[in-house]
């Protein structure tokens, strides 16, 4: 509202100035800008130049010392704020990235651990079953060996018994037939026969 009033006042002032600027007594020949010889215009032209220097100096002083540093500070402040915000955003992003990486690494580690545990369990079970199988095989082999030894012993005992029986029978037969028998000779003959028949 105040601004509108200000503009209205300015608009009303303009015709007043223009009317005040009614033409001078002596008519101006040619361009008024170059009427240095005119009694009134010439004086005003020089005055215009001097006032221009003063007014422009005032403008420069106000701008250089008061207005522009303040506006510059506002703009600088905004740039600093934007830079700080961007930096904060960058930091937050880096933090989030780090957290994400940590999370990923933790997941990876847990997965590796689980994999290792599974492998270990499988290996342990494998080793245990291998050991059990080996022990069983060893026990069975031992039993087989024992059984074979018993069979061998039994066979040897049986073989020994055949020799005795054969010798006794042969001696009895020879005694009955001949009336007497030479025990060592009979034993030797029986041993020879058994040897040839492959039963010794």
């Amino acid at each position: 509202m105040r601004r509108v009033m200000f503009l209205a006042a300015l608009a009303a002032a303009l015709p007043t100035i223009a009317i005040a600027a009614s033409s001078s007594a002596v008519p101006v020949q040619g361009m008024p800008q170059l009427a240095f010889g005119h009694p009134e215009q010439g004086r005003l032209l020089v005055g215009q130049m001097v006032w221009l220097l003063l007014i422009f100096a005032a403008l420069y002083f106000l701008m250089a010392n008061v207005a522009l540093p303040r506006v510059g500070a506002v703009i600088e402040g905004r740039h600093a704020r934007i830079a700080a915000d961007l930096e904060a955003a960058q930091a937050a992003k880096a933090e989030a990235d780090a957290a994400m990486a940590a999370h990923r690494a933790a997941t990876e580690a847990a997965r590796a651990e689980a994999r290792a545990a599974v492998t270990n369990a499988v290996q342990a079970a494998q080793a245990e079953s291998d050991a059990k199988a080996a022990a069983l095989a060893a026990r069975l082999n031992k039993q087989i060996a024992e059984a074979e030894a018993q069979i061998d012993a039994a066979r040897a005992a049986a073989m020994g018994a055949i020799r005795g029986v054969a010798t006794d029978t042969a001696e009895a037969l020879v005694t009955r037939l001949v009336g007497r028998a030479d025990r060592p000779v009979v034993e030797a003959a029986v041993g020879r026969i058994l040897a040839t028949s492959g039963r010794a």
Binding site: L10, A11, L14, P15, I17, A18, A20, A21, S22, S23, S24, V28, G30, M31, P32, Q33, L34, Q41, R43, L44, L45, V46, G47, Q48, M49, V50, W51, L52, L53, I55, F56, A58, L59, Y60, L62, M63, A64, V66, A67, L68, R70, V71, G72, A73, V74, I75, G77, R78, R81
Partner: protein
């Protein structure tokens, strides 16, 4: 006022007259100077309002002031470089003064102080003297090597040096005459076509229809003049920046 008898008076709009009563008469304070004060006041209020708000997210007025600030700051930085920072308030003052001078002239009844050669020449002289003083301060007598480019054959010196000196001096003239001529031409055209509207409008029944043509021309001219107002302020500021660049870097 524009039509006296049957002649077209396009130049009386540039006449000076004292304002503020006895004070204006005593110290030759004309309406031209009054509009300079208005231009300074508007610049001051704009920049002060911009600084006073100082909001993180600027409103319309603050954005206007800040864009003016950043426009000229960017221009000075691009043309002069980082050493140009301390000359920024000077270029900014020149730009705003010329811009408001041109724009105030677009208001009805207003006076266009940039249409006076005395004003533009004084501004150009301020620029020229400042630039020369800056160059002498920074480079001392080495500044005079500016008038003889390195590597040019010595026997050409009698030709090159006068040419360079004349071109350096004529900066002042070209800077001032460009602005002056643009503003005078624009305002004379506006006045002439406005007078046509009045003269043709008085031709009985067909008058208003015929008068519509110069009126249409004037509407277009007003738009064109706004363009010229900005463009000439920009040209004045950028040439000042370029001259400052020469003063700081010597070629």
């Amino acid at each position: 006022m524009a039509v006296e008898g049957k002649t077209i008076d396009a130049l009386s709009q540039f006449e000076l007259s004292p304002v503020l009563g006895i004070f204006g008469h005593a110290v030759s304070f004309s309406q031209s100077n009054l509009f300079m004060v208005v231009a300074v006041a508007l610049t001051w209020f704009l920049m002060k309002a911009t600084a006073d708000r100082g909001a993180m997210v600027p409103g319309r007025l603050q954005a206007l002031g800040e864009s003016a600030y950043e426009f000229i700051q960017g221009m000075v930085r691009d043309q002069v470089g980082d050493e140009g920072k301390k000359y920024f308030p000077f270029v900014f003052s020149i730009f705003m003064f010329v811009l408001f001078g041109n724009l105030l002239g677009m208001l009805p009844y207003a006076f266009t102080f940039t249409s006076h050669i005395v004003v533009t020449l004084t501004l150009a002289a301020v620029v020229w003297v400042s630039v020369t003083v800056i160059a002498l301060q920074r480079h001392g007598t080495h500044f005079f090597s500016y008038f003889f480019p390195e590597g040019a054959p010595t026997w050409l010196a009698p030709i090159i040096i006068p040419v360079e000196i004349i071109s350096y001096l004529s900066r002042m003239v070209s800077l001032s005459v460009r602005l002056f001529a643009n503003m005078v031409a624009g305002h004379v055209m506006l006045k002439v076509f406005a007078t046509f509207v009045v003269l043709l409008g008085g031709l009985g029944a067909v008058g208003p229809f015929v008068a519509a043509m110069p009126l249409a021309v004037n509407v277009a001219l007003v738009g064109f003049e706004f363009l010229v107002a900005f463009l000439q302020a920009y040209v004045f500021a950028i040439l000042t920046s370029i001259y400052l660049h020469d003063a700081v870097h010597l070629h």
